[in-house]
Structures are given as structure tokens and as C-alpha cells.
Symmetry: C2
Subunit: 205 residues, 2 copies
């Protein structure tokens, strides 16, 4: 299925489609159209049809898409038809919020542990987790073959921690620290920085 290279911009839209389709399924809907899906996600029906057709023929002319079938297909394409263990590094406010967040499990993820280098935080409880020492992090990541990390440390130490994560085998980092990370080509980084998102909107105000 991945024989041809799909542009990353298309890959970036698939989770948005999947989220909307899962929500439709929860609401009891069985089928949808690219028009209807487009209205939910704010993307044109033509774009949606083009994006989805990259991966095969999933809809029938006139009858639209089976929501269940498309959820399964998109989950398979995005490899979230399984649960991925994720480590959280940094037990500050964002680390807390992320560790307690209920919205991961039904989207393919499970927090496997939260780490901090602050000895005052190590051993403390955050929801159902006990904060672990970052000194034991690499070993835990290797032992459990964990590929994904969420980085919620201060900007000043983010690159250093990212290097350790990559060395331990992590291949995908969701970075909450407000700094661009340098990682090898085989490692993916996504950024969550509210100020950056806000600045992207003030341009238009």
C-alpha cells in the first residue's frame, strides 16, 4: 500500500478524517459522503476524495463511504489499529495534563510512564502513574521497545533529552517544548506550541 510515496500533507489530513469518522460512528451513523465529511472537517469534498483515493477505492459512486470500513482502513493506514506505548518526559503542568488525558486510548495510544530528572518529583503520583527517574528512562524504553515519546520539558533541555530518547530507540517525538529539535532523518517530530499556533492566527486579525 505504501509502495508509492504519499505526500506528508495528505498524511497529515488523514487523522482529521479518522477523528471525524469515529465521531460519526459514535453517533450511530453508518455511511457518509465526501460532502458531509467535508462539512465536518472544513475541507472540500474534492480534496477528501483525492486524498482517500491515494490508498485505493473505498467509496461507491452514489452510495458514499461505509463509515466502519473507512475507519478501519484509515486506522490500518495510520497504523493505529493497535495500541502504541508512549513515554512522557517532564512531569510539569503539561506532563500532568497529558498523563491524565483520557483521549489517547481509543485513538491508538497509551501512556506507559512519565519521567522527570527532578528528584523532588520522582516517586510522586500523577493520576495512576508514579513519576520515574529519567536515569532509568533509556532502559525502560529499550526493554519495552517504545517508539514514541511526548516531550514536556523546558526548552533549555529539550534537545538533550531528545538525543537520549533517539539513542534509546524512540522514532517519533511529540514536542511540547517551544524549540525546534534536530533529529536524524529516521525520526519524526511533531510540534505543539500554543504561541506558534496563536501567532499564525494574529496575522489575520
Amino acid at each position: 500500500m505504501n509502495a508509492k510515496k504519499i505526500p506528508d500533507i495528505i498524511i497529515g489530513r488523514l487523522p482529521v478524517y479518522l477523528r471525524a469518522l469515529q465521531r460519526m460512528a459514535e453517533m450511530g451513523l453508518k455511511t457518509t459522503s465526501s460532502q458531509e465529511l467535508g462539512e465536518h472537517v472544513g475541507i472540500s469534498a474534492a480534496q477528501i476524495r483525492k486524498d482517500i483515493s491515494q490508498f485505493g477505492e473505498f467509496g461507491k459512486q452514489g452510495t458514499g463511504y461505509s463509515i466502519e470500513y473507512l475507519v478501519n482502513k484509515l486506522s490500518e493506514i495510520l497504523k493505529v489499529n493497535r495500541i502504541w506505548d508512549v513515554v512522557v518526559v517532564g512531569a510539569g503542568d503539561i506532563g500532568h495534563a497529558v498523563a491524565n488525558y483520557q483521549g489517547f486510548t481509543d485513538r491508538g495510544f497509551r501512556v506507559a510512564g512519565i519521567f522527570d530528572n527532578d528528584k523532588a518529583k520522582v516517586g510522586k503520583s500523577i493520576g495512576k502513574f508514579v513519576v520515574e527517574d529519567t536515569e532509568t528512562m533509556a532502559e525502560r524504553i529499550r526493554a519495552a521497545d517504545i517508539k514514541i515519546a511526548m516531550l514536556t520539558v523546558p526548552a533549555a533541555v529539550a534537545q538533550e533529552v531528545a538525543d537520549k530518547l533517539v539513542q534509546a530507540g524512540v522514532r517519533a517525538i511529540l514536542n511540547y517544548a517551544p524549540i525546534s529539535l534536530n533529529v536524524p532523518n529516521n525520526v519524526k517530530v511533531q510540534y505543539i506550541d500554543p504561541s506558534t499556533h496563536l501567532q499564525r492566527m494574529t496575522y489575520y486579525l
Copy 2:
């Protein structure tokens, strides 16, 4: 300066350049090149030069960019050469983290208040804030002419709250709820949904 329409994809990269340049300035650097900036942000030097040249000629061949000048210019373009008041709606874990976040002020934003419809939360302190009742939200937004909101409510009520915000005059919403919002054309929405970001990376694992 905004006479010609700049593609949104370029606007989206400017805050990333600005963030890196501000960091360089903090480190005491005075000038940089598109090559050096490119290494920091993981974007090609050619792309950076092309993006920045949309707004005029900011660098000199051979001597590169003055960091201070470019920071000022990008701040002006993105309209963050001022402080924008922002309301936070939803006093849960994410609302807490956002209200306490120290990284807004030097990037152009200030949390002006945090609201919740849960009477058990109203009146409680979060850092320096006291949680206010959402019933008073529209009035506060109008009175202070607030244009920006961060939405940290559950998905089930996000659209309803967004409608109220728009009606009160909000024109930019940073939405943490895992749902696509329908808003008028003159309102901008940016999304922060960790599961969506994670799914965009698992495709490549």
C-alpha cells in the same frame, strides 16, 4: 505589506522562524544566515529566503540577516509587536496548564481570564487567576474587546462554546478539544490535538 495574498503555508512557518530568531537573540547572537536559521528549524535555506522575501528585502547578500531587525519585522508582520489578551475556556487539566504557562508573554499573548460552566470550579484559584463563570464570558469579551480564545472544554460542548465566543467577538480560536469546529469565514481556528499529531507520525513507523 499585505497587499498581495501570502499563502497560509508561508504564514505558518513565520512563527517558527521568529521563535528560533528570538532564541538566537537570547543567546546573544547579532546576525544569522538562511543556512544557519535553516539548520535550527529544519527547513531549507532556499525556502526560508523565499518565504521571507515575500515581505520585502530583509537581508544583504553576504552579510546575512540582522537578528534584531528580522525579529522586529516578523513580529510586525504577525502582529505580535503588541500583547493580545486571550481568554481560556475550560478549567480542566489543560486549562490549568495553559493558564499557568509562562511562555506566552514574550511571544505576544497574555491570559486575561479563565472560564468554566461548572459551579464547583467557579471562584477557585488557578495560579494567579480565579475561575469565572461562563455566563459572564461574553460580556467580559465584549467589554475588553478580546479577539482570541483557547478552548479547553470537552469535545461534546466545544462547538456550542465556540459559537458563543464568535458571537461575543472572538476571531481566533486555539482549539484543544478533539473535534473540528464550524466557524464563519472571518474566524480562524488552529487545532492542538495530541492524538492527531501522534497519528501523523505512526504512519511512518
